[in-house]
Subunit: 201 residues, 2 copies
DNA sequence: AATACTTACGGTTAACTTACGAGTATTTAG
DNA sequence: CTAAATACTCGTAAGTTAACCGTAAGTATT
């Protein structure tokens, strides 16, 4: 019977999981210390000992092996994100019922990220075409210059976001197409920031 | 349970993978030493011994065989492929000196695969633009309909490949652009098949 | 018989793990 | 509300190992 984890302990395990995903090796004690804001290695060691005792962590190799912490949970084999819907310019985003998921590069694995599949060639002015996939981070706010998935009067679009004093400018990737200007009379909502797009041949 | 690789060890394997892809043979110890900036062959030997012990490397042939290192292709935790060069339509492929590597989805990790970065907007008719990356499988032969990276009279291009009886047709992704016809007077060579393309925002 | 390469050995350093003792918050039991 | 247990933190220091260096002898190829 496993003991339940405290919030801090879960956080501790998350750090390790994430580090392994991104760098392919578990973090050193010092690295964990920095990330969690500890000022002592003893604290890290206390967590390690506690988590090993309770069956959430393992040390591989001999004692004193470096970066040898591994999670005991059956860690998800390949990094995937849920495919939440279909997107086409000029229509609302179409949600998908059945929960598919798509293989993505490990650093994009994050609870707020999801994948959309592009339908039709209506996004050609953003150099996105039928069948492409985009990885989106769900958020309402964006920085100037970021690529966003947004709903303008209920219609989906993928553009770079430039807020100005009186209006919002949406720039397509392809400079041959016009800039869209949003003012107060328009219904405008950011769905998320575009992080990555890919295409399988 | 395989030991995880350190960053340096991953880099070490990348060097070998890269060298095999470019030159068709594994690098000598001295060459590895130079690329990684070591000043001792002992260091190279230490890496080789360690990586063989942990099951990431093999020596083919008898002992003392030259350039006999081969990768045991396991799905490494952080899947990466070497970035071999820059490609722009209408010019030869430009090799990159320093050995970078790029994170890719795990299924694309394969000893014959590599990544090219697209330079300039000259491939816009293939819906590929400046800064995009493509994953290519090194091969001389392609099936009809596959997307290939090819050299036509010394100039790189990315097209779909359709061999016909008397000539070869190269179709761009964008149907608004013309089909290219290759005949015996042209110098034509397939560099590889395009598997995937991606873009970071 | 020279050249290019692999393999071996011993030594150094910085990075890393591990142990210990003690102190402070936070939760639980009476 | 108060004591006691538990969760968490600190600082330091000893012990190990990964990652280097230099050199040199052994082995195949030309």
């Amino acid at each position: 019977m496993k003991k339940l984890l405290s919030t801090k302990q879960q956080q501790f395990l998350d750090i390790i999981r994430r580090h392994v995903l991104i760098y392919g090796q578990s973090p050193s004690y010092t690295e964990i210390m920095d990330v969690l804001g500890f000022s002592s290695l003893g604290t890290v060691n206390w967590y390690v000992k506690t988590l090993i005792k309770n069956g959430y962590l393992n040390r591989t190799g001999t004692s004193n092996s470096k970066r040898a912490l591994t999670l005991t949970e059956t860690h998800s084999v390949s990094p995937r994100l849920p495919l939440l819907g279909l997107i086409a310019a000029g229509t609302p985003i179409e949600a998908l019922e059945n929960s598919e998921s798509v293989e993505v590069p490990a650093p994009f694995v994050h609870p707020d990220n999801f994948v959309l599949k592009v339908k039709g060639n209506s996004m050609i002015n953003d150099n996105i075409e039928d069948g492409d996939y985009i990885i989106v981070r769900k958020t309402q706010a964006a920085e100037s210059g970021q690529a966003v998935v947004a709903l303008v009067n209920g219609e989906a679009t993928l553009k770079r976001y430039y807020p100005k004093t009186n209006q919002i400018e949406l720039h397509p990737r392809n400079p041959d197409y016009p800039v869209i200007y949003i003012n107060e009379t328009d219904n405008f909502q950011i769905n998320g920031i575009v992080l990555y797009s890919f295409r399988e041949y």
